[in-house]
């Protein structure tokens, strides 16, 4: 018993060490955010700030309306992620549980959207959104992130491993397809839903170009624009405040991570459900 405990402690320490190594660049950024300019520029190895000082954070908050931008990004990322989960889950349900004419063609057609670079469709999409009168609105900002085939694909891969027996059984019970999706499939798919939500939240949170193109007011800016606002094209990078802003911007995503951690950690599903 004792041996097992020691083993477990060693194992956990090892995992934590690997974890620290994985996030080393982030830790370095956190460390830089507390450093004074002269500490960043040293010839020797300087990993930790001499003392914790909040100058860079104050500077970042003074130069940008970061709190407002976080709210915007939260609306943008939260809103589009919810829609993404709903639309993608539904489409994947169809691709995974039904057999119909043209299914493979339709699926490949959807998949092809993953291969279209965003820059090449930017102008046409801007025109569409502007014609719809959606410039300077949150919905206009979200418009480019409402559906992602990547999410459909994620759900499909998961649903394909779902037990067909349960589906058949629910049908015998007189359960309609849509009811099955809402009442059984979706609740049992928490891990993948959480993963889809997190990944789309994070990717939307980090977008830069589109939210800036469709909005014209400073009050509609998002966090990534805020971070680059601290940069200076003519003068090169000022590390302290940028790192401080980056760390602040990272906090909400980390919180989302921790919130959804339990869902994912629960595993795909209990073995009994498997066919």
């Amino acid at each position: 018993m004792k041996k097992k405990t020691v083993q477990s402690i060693l194992y956990q320490s090892f995992c934590l060490l690997i974890g620290l190594m994985t996030i080393a660049p982030i830790l370095y950024a956190v460390s830089l955010s507390f450093m004074e300019q002269r500490e960043i520029l040293t010839k020797g190895i300087h990993l930790l700030p001499d003392k914790i000082q909040w100058k860079n954070y104050k500077e970042a908050l003074r130069l940008t309306h970061l709190v407002r931008y976080m709210l915007n990004s939260l609306i943008l990322a939260g809103g589009s992620s919810v829609i993404r989960v709903a639309v993608a889950g539904l489409a994947a349900f169809s691709f995974a549980f039904f057999d119909f004419k043209g299914k493979n063609v339709l699926f490949m057609l959807c998949m092809s959207t993953m291969m279209i670079p965003g820059d090449v469709v930017l102008i046409t999409n801007y025109k569409t959104v502007a014609d719809l009168g959606l410039t300077d609105t949150y919905f206009g900002m979200m418009s480019m992130f409402l559906v992602s085939v990547m999410n459909i694909f994620m759900f499909r891969q998961y649903y394909l491993t779902f037990s067909m027996e349960i589906y058949e059984a629910s049908k015998v019970d007189g359960c309609g397809n849509f009811i099955f999706f809402i009442k059984i499939l979706f609740p049992l798919s928490k891990p993948v839903t959480a993963t889809v939500f997190i990944s789309s939240f994070v990717s939307t949170w980090n977008t830069y170009l589109w939210p800036m193109i469709v909005t014209n007011k400073d009050t509609m800016r998002t966090v990534q624009v805020g971070v680059t606002m601290l940069n200076s094209r003519d003068g090169g990078t000022i590390y302290g405040p940028i790192m401080a802003a980056s760390v602040m911007v990272l906090v909400p995503t980390v919180i989302i991570f921790i919130l959804f951690q339990k869902q994912i950690a629960g595993g795909m599903m209990a073995g009994s459900v498997k066919g």
Partner: protein
């Protein structure tokens, strides 16, 4: 599965399909159409060009180099990011008291934005004041040596993608029924054998998804060269879509840009079709 002739399955796909039609198919078909015309700097069609734009791009050494660079990047970045994430996922599979902590650490890289990551790595890569050279006691010019700049860029991308891949692989591995692993234990299988013969087949749908998505993402990658290297030094980090980006926004040449985008699309499509041809053989759905 029964063949259903009903309208129902189509209805479920309809919202996604409508959206793609408006924001992907329509603009991209328009782009494909424009590649057969000469377009001026204001985006106006000037004359029919046949395949001239394609010929021009395909004979442009800068584009050919971009094709090669993209290939190097994809071959380096895609498998490595999945492989490392797989190791981490196997490591994290067992639940312990501190699981939540290191799981978060392993997946955290996906929360990083590309621009911030680029800034951090730029200072870490600096040959004189950067942390990496200091710690390794080497004097490598990570981003300004044409021989290794693409490798350096790929490493950043690997790091960025570890978190995303890890998250999916962990979810998948956790789904492997405990009994199967236990019976493998009884058979005396070591970790490698367990991964190889029990875990991998069962998580193959997820691995397949990761391979496809990372291929697609990486073939059309342009962000890091735009932010970090401007395609240099000596064009060594210019990817296909970076080439497109530069032609469109740096040179106002939509002819080259659109043709390059369509060619890149075809590349990705081929990669995707090849991957899907393996789906039936290599991927096991329950």
């Amino acid at each position: 599965m029964k063949k259903s002739r009903k309208i129902e399955p189509y209805l479920y796909i309809l919202p996604a399909l409508l959206y793609f039609t408006v924001f992907s198919f329509y603009p991209f078909l328009k782009t494909i159409g424009l590649t057969f015309f000469t377009v001026n700097a204001n985006g106006q069609v000037k004359a029919f060009a046949g395949f001239d734009n394609y010929i021009h791009v395909l004979t442009d050494t800068a584009f050919l180099r971009s094709v090669w660079n993209t290939l190097v990047y994809v071959v380096l970045a895609s498998p490595l990011a999945i492989f490392i994430a797989l190791i981490l996922a196997v490591l994290a599979n067992k639940k312990t008291r501190t699981s939540a902590v290191y799981e978060t650490m392993f997946s955290l890289t996906m929360a990083m934005s590309m621009s911030v990551t680029a800034m951090i790595f730029k200072i870490m890569y600096n040959p004189n004041i950067g942390l990496i050279n200091k710690l390794l006691h080497v004097k490598i010019n990570w981003l300004n040596d044409p021989e290794i700049a693409m490798v350096s860029v790929s490493l950043i991308s690997v790091w960025l993608n570890i978190g995303f891949n890890f998250l999916f692989l962990l979810a998948a591995i956790r789904g492997v029924p405990g009994e199967l692993l236990e019976s493998a234990n009884i058979d005396g299988a070591n970790l490698y054998q367990k991964v190889r013969s029990v875990i991998l087949p069962l998580i193959s749908p997820t691995v397949f998804f990761l391979i496809c998505s990372s291929l697609a993402k990486n073939i059309i990658m342009a962000g890091l060269p735009i932010i970090l290297t401007e395609g240099g030094p000596k064009g060594s980090t210019s990817t296909m879509i970076y080439y497109m980006y530069k032609q469109a926004f740096g040179n106002m040449s939509y002819n080259d840009a659109y043709a390059a985008a369509v060619i890149t699309f075809l590349f990705t499509l081929i990669a995707m079709l090849v991957s899907f041809s393996f789906e039936k053989k290599g991927v096991h759905y329950s």
